[in-house]
Amino acid sequence: MRPVLDALAAAWHHPQGRIGAFILLIVAVTAIVGPWLLPDPLSQPDILIGSTPPGLGHPFGTDQLNRDILSRVVTGARVSLGVALLAVALSMTLGAAVGLVSGYLGGVVDAVLMRLVDGALAIPRLFILLLVLAVWERVPVLALILLIGATGWFATSRIVRAEVLRLREEAYVRAAEALGARRRRIIFRHLLPNVVGPLLVTATLAVGDVILLEAGLSFLGLGIQPPMPSWGGMILESKEVLVSAPWAGIFPGLAIVITVLSANLFGDALRDAVDPRSA
């Protein structure tokens, strides 16, 4: 835990990192608390009125179905962050597991796994997801999370594998081995503190990527399904009213930009803390 706390502390002392962390916290708190305080994002008070511009009752205006955009953006935050966090957690677990197995076992297993990773990295993640998700008429949220998570571990596995390989060659590992200690034990003991930093950086940056990916899928109709509000889905719906009600698409887009930017600023600060040479 020690390196994680150190990295987090260092990132907090980084000006951009602190701003990023601070905004992320606000977004997270809003996503958790907001929906209880705001009008029902699904209710359509007066569908005949349609969209109204930002004003007193609706700070972000209403969409073509007269739904409050602010509460839809806030509920969308809950959906986007939830999907992103779960998917990234899955990716990191898979990446760490494959990297560990590949680096530790080496030989044929390693060769096969890494060729698989090479091949998978040659297909942009979006295309893999499009192929699989297009099967459903309405994509279930659980499937979305699992599939986004299952397609995000390739690069992570390489990081972990490289670290295992490096550790295997370290003098102290060899020395301990010569003294009769179990190599597996040593590697596992030293691996965790060494990879936890890079993993944390990768995970933080991956959160931003996954939010963008999920928004993109929803924009193509393969992500979160209406009427559940999602940022990408809201932008898709706003396409129809681009001219008459531009605010319907602008606010969810801004929410994406702010959230992803904050995550990336924080991730960058973490990266500088973990690897000072990149600063």
């Binding site: 000006p15 951009q16 060729r115 698989l116 090479d118 091949g119 998978a120 040659a122 297909i123 942009p124 993640r125 979006l126 295309f127 893999i128 499009l130 192929l131 699989v132 297009a134 099967v135 459903w136 008429e137 931003g208 963008l212 928004a215 993109g216 924009f219 193509l220 109709g221 393969l222 990408g232 932008i235 706003s238 396409k239 681009l242 001219v243 531009p246 698409g249 602008i250 969810p252 887009g253 994406i256 930009v257 702010i258 959230t259 992803v260 930017l261 990336n264 600023l265 960058d268 040479r277 990149s278 600063a279």
Partner: protein, 323 residues
């Protein structure tokens, strides 16, 4: 050197074959039956399904399907598009030029403006300009390309009426117009998609150029160059940048997927008649053969560009070239 190129080519071939296998497995192992969705709202009878299965070869064992697929691939046959009813390869060939034009322009912008900004950042490391450029480029990176596209289309195309916001050519342009007029027409259609894709992709270029440059700037030979009294401009661009360009070139292979992914959205938003909008359309229509063909082509492009950049790298670096 040539032995190395051969090995690298072999590796690229293996990578592509693995990618192909993954795509094939994804298509066949995906849960649910895509054919059930073909009828749209109309339910499809089991008999119709059986006919369709036979038509697409889905009634065969998986091994046979794979060999059939590979045989087709070798002959340039990727099947028939469900939506267009035409060979997938023909559609891809038709749409490729527009995407190359779009991607090439973005590439050009990235590798001029992006590299220049990255070098500036490294030279002014840690100062205000560096920090602002980082934040700005990250803000661009954080923008969904489809959202930025829609905002620009609305603002520049519809609100201000400055530039066309859709398509690649003005449909009302007289067929007798000279090639100059046509070129200007295409260019004006090109501006907004290129701008959108560049904004969302330039951060990656800048970041890598910056860190590659920082690596080089701390090497002893930079000190030598400074100690002999060279102007800073020569130190930055001749001595440092020449060396800091190599790592950026290898980045190209990693960077292409970002560009391809972005172009799916940007082409869809701006109705740009390239591969991206073809793929986006295929998603909506659940046009599997088309989706598969596009993915395969993209994978081939990614693998080929990775190979090409590695070879280019080797050719540019005298340590490798003369080894």
């Amino acid at each position: 050197m040539s032995g190395w190129v051969l090995r690298r080519a072999l590796q690229a071939a293996v990578t592509f074959l693995v990618a192909l296998a993954i795509l094939f497995v994804l298509m066949r192992a995906a849960p649910g039956d895509p054919l059930l969705r073909l009828g749209g709202d109309r339910p499809i009878s089991p008999k119709e399904i059986a006919v369709l299965r036979a038509r697409y070869g889905l009634d065969q064992p998986v091994g046979r399907q794979l060999t059939a697929f590979l045989q087709g691939l070798v002959h340039g046959d990727l099947g028939v598009s469900i939506e267009y009813g035409r060979p997938v390869t023909a559609l891809l060939a038709e749409r490729l030029p527009a995407t190359l034009l779009l991607g090439g322009s973005v590439l050009l912008l990235n590798f001029t403006v992006g590299l220049w900004l990255g070098v500036r950042q490294a030279v002014r490391r840690g100062r205000r300009e560096d920090r602002w450029l980082t934040t700005l480029s990250l803000a661009g990176y954080a923008m969904p390309s489809f959202w930025l596209g829609l905002v620009l289309a609305w603002l520049v195309g519809i609100h201000w009426r400055l530039l066309p916001a859709a398509g690649m050519q003005d449909p009302l342009l007289s067929s007798h117009a000279g090639w100059g007029t046509r070129a200007v027409d295409v260019l004006s259609h090109l501006v907004l998609p290129v701008l959108t894709l560049s904004v969302v992709s330039i951060a990656a270029t800048m970041r890598h150029q910056r860190s590659a440059m920082l690596e080089v700037l701390r090497l002893p030979y930079i000190l030598t160059a400074r100690a002999k009294g060279l102007p800073e401009r020569d130190i930055t661009w001749r001595h440092a940048w020449r060396n800091a360009l190599f790592p950026v070139i290898t980045l190209f292979g990693l960077w292409l997927p970002i560009l391809v992914t972005g172009s799916v959205f940007v082409e869809a938003v701006f109705a740009w008649p390239g591969l991206g909008s073809l793929a986006a359309g295929a998603v909506g229509n659940r046009d599997y053969p088309l989706l598969m063909g596009t993915s395969l082509l993209v994978a081939a492009l990614v693998v080929a560009s990775g190979f090409a950049t590695d070879v280019a790298y080797a050719l540019l670096d005298p340590r490798v070239r003369l080894a």
